[in-house]
Symmetry: D2
Subunit: 141 residues, 4 copies
């Protein structure tokens, strides 16, 4: 639900986001979620919590449920929020609303793992980052 | 597993599929799955099973698990298969292998609903289409 | 120059518009110009000037000059204007400015031909459309 | 003409390359040209001619003429060749043919400048690179 989300990004749909069916192509929803995720990373100032320059986030899974077709022109409000924090990963949830009529057009989720890009291995989330996310989202320990 | 898939499409990765991380962007995997899905639709001759021109498939959910990074240049073998057939929908599964080293780089799934595009409502899958899919995939009734 | 343009569209750059060089990929500029062109079509109410449903615009050439790199996050102001009207075609020009520093980051042009989609042949621009464009852009006969 | 080109890349059109007009979107042709350009860079082993790691190519202009519509499924043969070598830049030309019927569907060109990415300034093309391109393309001094 909308009130569960603190972070929102408004994304204008581009004409070229549509496919031969005349509606927004399914892969574009993942780009919309990515845009919102990148904005959320910035909102929590994720870069400041890297303990080494080669440590950072990596997407390991992404899911989207397509609930209503979207046609250009339209603007979507795309919320992102961390819903669960693990030892080496956290889960983000997304909700995409049509600004005009307020309808939920899609929702989704993704799992972000903290990775040492050098070794390619998952590593523990920095404690300060976990604390930061909990604080930003109002999650309990 | 590879032997579970009858339909395969080889997809050359394009340089522009990569993002600032220098690897294939997450949204592109959904385009790869879509390409394979469209090829599978053609392989089962889905168009011939429409009982009306405004009846046809609609994607309602898509998921992908990203198991290994992919870098251009590369060619992926992308399998698609129906794994479950319901009354108004069926589920497709995908596996994406790197042609060079044979590694599984991603897998995913999606649910395809049979829709009357006029009303936007889900309608029963034509029996002949269900039979066709079962036969193509070697599924039991 | 900015003052030559009446129509402007602001386009937020998406993170995924960037490529492995870490800047906006060249093909995306054509999508930005397309977005502005579609907005310009709407601004002049082009659809109302079709003399038959199968008559309409077709792009026959597109050019872009890349003057400065663009990095996410950024918003571009993308102007479009008709600069020349022929018997069966008109030319559009584009200028793309970085909203933050005001720099021109790219400019381009395209030729749009009026086509009978049925035959695929170029046909004369409706006089009323030519007049409409001249009026909108303040062009002389 | 086809015989003017030594380098060719075959590019399968993806379903998602099409837009609501049901044909390949104009911006995708620039991605096709880019794929061919990257392959040509590899064919001439451009990386070996960098005199410093921060020296390399930058695209400053791109043009495409759209001659025939392309629809999925299709495979395009996309040729790239250097047509002119300057002191700090060279020009590439492209021709895109439909593999099925052999028709020219588009042609285009781009100017590639040799740049010091550190300063962002154009610098002279290494003599060895100019010689390499002339030799590869059979151009005279």
């Amino acid at each position: 639900m909308r009130q569960d989300f603190r972070y929102w990004l408004d994304i204008p749909v581009r004409w070229a986001d549509m496919d031969p069916y005349g509606h927004v192509n399914n892969a574009k929803y993942f780009t919309y979620c990515e845009s919102s995720r990148m904005g959320w990373f910035e909102a929590i100032e994720l870069d400041g919590f890297r303990e080494a320059s080669q440590h950072g986030p990596a997407l390991v899974t992404a899911t989207c449920n397509f609930r209503r077709q979207v046609h250009h022109p339209a603007t979507l409000d795309v919320g992102a929020r961390a819903s669960r924090i693990g030892s080496k990963s956290f889960q983000l949830e997304y909700e995409l609303y049509h600004r005009g009529d307020g309808h939920l057009v899609a929702d989704g989720s993704s799992v972000v793992v903290w990775v040492d890009y050098g070794s390619g291995q998952a590593i523990p989330l920095p404690d300060a980052l976990k604390e930061r996310i909990r604080h930003y989202e109002g999650l309990e320990d």
